[in-house]
Symmetry: C2
Subunit: 402 residues, 2 copies
């Protein structure tokens, strides 16, 4: 059974025109007018593919087809919201491919043993919370504080925002993990590994944990003209040594990334020796121990350099995906003759919310041209989109037999 | 003949109370209410010391005593304006010590061959232009553009500001350098060399030149999670290598300082690889060749690292002071038994304006406790203040004989 890659292309292109920007990107924040229009389009396609469609109390758009044997559902999900001026593939591909899979089953008069759901999760991009809102809410990972968080300048809370979007978040019933047999998500890589190495399919090993540490070096602000070099405590020089150590240590560990993307020099004048420098070290790895080892060495180095303070800003555990699901994805891709590679996901996805609840979870990546994402230039070749959708269908069929 | 160091202390303390702040500092911007009050106090002291007092068309406050032989004047100057929440010694010491010298001459019924002037220069601290305004204006180093520069948020130009302060800048007659036999300035070091090394008097070799260069490294902003380390062009890592090279190269040259005090990371998010980093390298030396050599190596290094742009932001020549004046200062200090050291001035002073015009110029430094200046904690021991004033008097007498 083959998906129809021309139809998938047509649907993705149509969706990409909703919320499109002058620069050729897409701006479609969750609960925006463009998002509402996109939901209508997705609803229509879901219905055409034979789904019963409904929106849950937090805004997740769900299309469901019952199975002949019943039991827990196989869920195929992703999102249709975007970052401001983002691309047309991130999220959208996963939802449109899942719908294409349902349409292909219908066209072939195939019914599965298990119920199947296609879900477009609300606010994956974190326009209001820190991302993957809809899937976390569905599975009960949103705290009471989160609901009361102010999400716009006029003081609107998250709950008020949802209510004003016609939703009833208080009616949310957290989904029991046992109602999901398996979660599958097709997504663009958003990095450049598959593209650079020439693979069509990535079999996602897991989603890296994210740790962010704020370092503040406390030197002494001094006149840059009158303070001799050997009488200085220049906080920026200390910071630079740590910043340069990050890629070195990260490369030594391998299979992880480390970045300093944020740095502030105080007081920040050309004629004043930096008295204080703040910067954030972000470390991402599938193996938490790697992060811990790098952090330990960075802190030792910092202690040897200057007075400093240290603060954990984020500490998100990695989410390993499920071995038997990964094996199926790898097997079906290989059977189709699609070159494939085991790869870590450096970005967060709705799949994490399922993996954290020990629901069997698998992710399929397709290449992002030059690794570009969250930008108008985001691109995935149509052929690769089709291969990804085909792997999603083949995986669904195998999981259904399982 | 000895100056009266108790009287000097009393006068400096009184002056320091005008514009004093809750934190124990002094806020006395030129042409502010506090500055007007300080001018009245200084005028009174100048008159008591026998000076004819007048304010020139740009606000320089001048007290003059004629000499028995006439001819060009010996000028002792500094300033009484301060940075916001600055200290009570920076500038004020030079003016009050010059007045103390005049008072001592009067008390001892000594009249000199040459006319002597005490000048409190307007806006040395650069509240409106880039510093040393009054001395530059007096000597014709202010451009037409400078006069029209907007100096406050309501659109007031420098000229309008002076007019509203009751001055008539259009009436300014630029002073002919030949009317000044010698310019002398006592000032606190504002650095920590004399204090750390235990010297009472600094014989200033010259005032360093200041060069500022804006480097902009252009890398590639990328997702910090999905971009492997070997596929990045991280502008901050390139910048750090240059920043760390600055102190190394500067120390190799010796007798110079180099600072990166300003740095901006774009886009500046914890989860984005820095795409662009701007920073300013400031180099100060008495010998311009040192600056040129360091800059050349920095640019070579930068070229090897990443695409970058380069812009000269400031290029102020050093001002060497006059050998015979320095010799006199050194000689009189040594005769008094005051430990003394040849030292470069890392900060700009009104003395530069005179040295640039080839007027014989000398500067005397006294120690700044812990090198602190432009801050409430600025401190110079009263004993050192007295020694500085004594050296100023002794130098004046020798120059007058010369």
């Amino acid at each position: 059974m083959r998906i129809n890659s021309d139809r998938l292309r047509e649907h993705l292109t149509q969706l990409g025109m909703i919320g499109c920007t002058p620069s050729g990107g897409v701006s479609r924040a969750s609960f925006s007018a463009a998002d509402r229009q996109a939901r209508e389009y997705v609803t229509e396609l879901m219905k055409k593919a034979g789904c019963q469609v409904y929106t849950d109390p937090v805004g997740n758009l769900i299309g469901r087809v019952e199975g002949s044997r019943g039991g827990p559902a196989i869920v195929m999900g992703s999102h249709i919201d975007t970052v401001p001026d983002g691309g047309q593939f991130d999220g959208a591909l996963g939802v449109m491919a899942a719908i294409e899979v349902m349409q292909t089953l219908r066209d072939n008069n195939v019914s599965l043993d298990h119920p199947v759901e296609v879900i477009a999760f609300a606010d994956e991009e974190g326009s209001y919370l820190t991302g993957t809102f809809g899937s976390r809410a569905m599975l009960g990972s949103i705290s009471a504080d989160d609901w009361n968080k102010v999400v716009s300048e006029d003081g609107t809370t998250l709950e008020q925002l949802l209510v004003s979007a016609g939703l009833a978040p208080r009616n949310l019933e957290v989904r029991d993990p046992s109602t999901v047999k398996c979660y599958l998500e097709l997504h663009v890589e958003q990095g450049g590994v598959l593209d650079a190495k020439g693979y069509s399919i990535g079999v996602v090993e897991g989603i890296v944990g994210i740790s962010r540490y704020l370092f503040t070096f406390k030197g002494k602000a001094n006149h840059a003209g009158t303070t001799p070099m050997d009488m200085r405590q220049d906080a920026l020089l200390a910071a630079c040594q740590i910043i340069l150590a990050v890629p070195e240590l990260v490369k030594q560990e391998g299979d992880m990334v480390g970045t300093v993307g944020m740095l502030e020099v105080k007081p920040g004048a050309a004629n004043v020796v930096p008295g204080e420098v703040e910067f954030v070290v972000e470390l991402r790895a599938l193996e938490k121990k790697k992060v811990e080892r790098v952090l330990q060495i960075l802190r030792q180095k910092a202690e040897g350099l200057m007075d400093y303070t240290f603060e954990v800003r984020m500490d998100k555990d990695p989410a390993w995906l499920t071995p038997w699901v990964k094996d199926i994805i790898e097997q079906v891709a290989t059977e189709r003759g699609y070159s494939n590679l085991r790869i870590a996901s450096g970005a967060g996805h709705d799949a994490m919310s399922f993996a954290y609840k020990n629901i069997p979870t698998g992710m399929i990546f397709v290449p992002s041209k030059d690794g570009i994402s969250h930008a108008p230039d985001e691109w995935t070749d149509w052929e690769d989109c089709g291969k990804g959708a085909q792997v999603l269908l083949d995986t669904l069929l195998k999981v259904d037999e399982n």
